[in-house]
């Protein structure tokens, strides 16, 4: 079993109204040094790796299900496993 974390974020060219609004709120709280906040999400995935294809499975899943390529990109990292 392996553990992966998949990060899904907006492409930099896509408008991120939520990130902008949170940035403004941070500045209103007095954190003037905050330049920008971008919102994304991550998925922790546990995969059986007895066939050695876990990473490939994670990539497929990300591309078929987790990511909307019209708007988003992803990257992933291995967190650990047996």
């Amino acid at each position: 079993m392996k553990k992966f974390r998949v990060y899904v974020t907006y492409k930099p060219s896509v408008f991120d109204p939520q990130g902008d609004t949170i940035t403004d709120a941070a500045k209103d709280l007095g954190y003037q040094s905050i330049q920008a906040i971008h919102v994304g999400k991550f998925f922790d995935i546990e995969v059986d790796d007895s066939k050695g294809t876990a990473a490939q499975t994670v990539e497929e899943l990300a591309e078929k299900l987790l990511v909307n390529f019209n708007l988003e990109v992803y990257r992933y990292e291995q967190l650990g496993g047996d």
Binding site: P17, Q18, T21, I22, A25, D28, L29
Partner: protein, 221 residues
Amino acid sequence: MRVAIIVFPGSNCDSDLHYVLENLCHVSAKYVPSTATNLDGFDAVLLPGGFSYGDYLRCGAIAALTPIMGAVRQFADSGKPVIGICNGFQILTEAHLLPGVLKKNDNLKFICRPVALQVENNGTPFTTKYVKDEKIHLPIAHSDGNFYADPATVDELEQNHQIVFRYVDQNPNGSVNNIAGICNRRGNVVGMMPHPERASEKIVGNNEGFKVFQSLLSLKH
């Protein structure tokens, strides 16, 4: 009586409350922007529904940090009546003026429809015109109305009669113990997901929410 309606960026039920108070209750209602810092001279404070700050981050989270909320806290601490409706309820929980949190509805969708409620506590400033256990119908319109608090807090709410409204017949959003509205320990701060201001005249469907405002008007000042 002078009533303050707090307007946060993105509030959208502020004008409905204003209409009910000014045109149906004939009391003075003033819009107070979230940038204001005092509520002197007001007898009651209303936090309207809507999508403050677009519901970005968490519903009510950014609004809870606005300057006016310090004044709302002082106002509440002085024992005067405060009610948050829908997004207003979410703001009051984010500001810790009420316990718990409003999670996403269990079907993960926005739901707009009438629901059946029971008035569990008719001792708050907003429910005295109802009979205890009275069954009423009010509209809901939210995607995050699923009230949650840890079991100890829920027990405390139950024991102290802090459940003000409870869903009956059917729970629309998955809230714990069918909770639709609660109050603080003292009873002067109320939060509710259903919209009484949208049910204050027969022409728009029903007027079973009007007693929320009539209760407030009957307070002595």
